[in-house]
Chain length 249, copies 2
């Protein structure tokens, strides 16, 4: 196994950081790694906003649900789906790009582009011994986040990535078994097969929590998911996304 794969298999989210800011060089290497991810037809439909202003970081931490480590990390990146440049290009080149850039297809392209870039950033940071945590919580209040970061139409902040020197030891969380996530040639949709596989996974997850909490927690994954998905969360999103001129047609 090589160093790169070892870095990825060793991933765990870090939510407590030492009080050390990233250097400009570290930020540049992380962003350049992000940029070298694949991009659909070279469209590069994303932007990265680095938040260093302490007031803005505090506000973002609060908007993300009181996650203090957003403010207290070494650096906070926000990854955005971005077709704003492309809308300007349409204007400059006198070309009608509006139907295209407001389509569901190009929304998917920009979300995928931003995510591929972000994962390269995450792996680059971890390869340097830094810890990371994705912050989906910024989607709690995207209207306020957009205002704070002054993002125009055709731009949506998707998630944050907090990066810094780890100040805690966390454990690698066991993922679904290989055979549950990986299908060959056809999707295995048979309900009984899925049930049997997830029963097995539930046991592994229960054992994981049991071990980490001296028996206090024994949640199953399926139970966690049912509890989480029962809540109707961020149901404003469709209107927000369309309001930013994405996924309208």
């Amino acid at each position: 196994m090589n160093e790169t794969i070892e870095t990825m298999l060793n991933h765990r989210s870090v939510r407590k950081f030492k009080d050390e800011k990233l250097t400009l060089e570290q930020i540049q290497v992380i962003v350049e790694s992000a940029q070298m991810a694949s991009t659909s037809s070279f469209i590069q439909a994303y932007s990265i906003i680095g938040v260093t202003d302490p007031e803005k970081k505090k506000k973002l931490a609060a908007l993300a649900g009181g996650q203090d480590y957003v403010a207290e990390s070494g650096h906070f990146f926000v990854f955005c789906a971005d077709l704003y440049r492309h809308s300007l290009i349409g204007k400059w080149e006198n070309t009608d790009v509006e139907d295209s850039i407001t389509s569901m297809e190009k929304f998917m392209v920009s979300v995928i582009d931003a995510s591929l870039a972000a994962q390269n950033a995450a792996v680059a940071a971890e390869s340097m011994g830094l810890g990371i945590c994705y912050i989906g919580g910024i989607r709690n209040h995207l209207d306020e986040v957009s205002e704070l970061l002054e993002t125009p139409s055709h731009v949506i902040p998707l998630f944050g990535l907090t990066v810094g020197v780890p100040d805690q030891e966390t454990a690698v969380k066991p993922r679904m078994p290989f055979q549950s996530i990986y299908h060959e040639n056809s999707y295995r949709y048979d309900e009984q097969v899925v049930k049997t596989e997830l029963d097995e996974y539930d046991e592994a997850i229960s054992a994981y929590y049991h071990g980490r909490t001296s028996g206090k927690r024994t949640d199953k994954w399926t139970g966690q998911m049912a509890n989480m998905l029962e809540k109707k969360n961020r149901m404003y999103m469709k209107e927000f996304v369309e309001g930013k001129n994405f996924a309208k047609k």
Copy 2:
């Protein structure tokens, strides 16, 4: 610079592969690396379908727009947004999860989850000396792709990833300058600033094509984007996505 960052900065798409299949061990390491990517609230809202059946690979290559290297690669992975398991969990746990899993928010979660996983897979493959190319072309005909791979409701094949032993030397394509993709604290939306930055990038891209084609091509990036986005591509996507019970509300 460490090996991992070197691997990422050295990325180029590979579209010609030697006739060597990936081993089961390679496939497993790639999938396990994918699985260790971050996932929103541990939801793991994606699946990976490995296509090995030669007939299916040929059909997928044709559906993706006649990209023969899809059929001729060492392995072809298809990454899917997947909330099918979660819909079953709702049923088993007698919990109403339908509003949640059909929301725009959870569509974004599953597209992001699948993309983070895919990028780990891509980096894992490249770290082993393999070449990769993402295949967005499967979105040309998602109805037929879904039928071929037998994906149920709540599952959308998003893109392919073709992996194999490279049989061509390709060049690293210059990305947008750091200052164009990276903003600090606020998004720089001033049109003149964006124009000046993209003019500079256009020159770099023209020089890149000029150098690689002995002066035959000198396209600018902005011109490429205007030409591409003028075409209304995959405009069926919104209806398709909603038909699969994603992003409906």
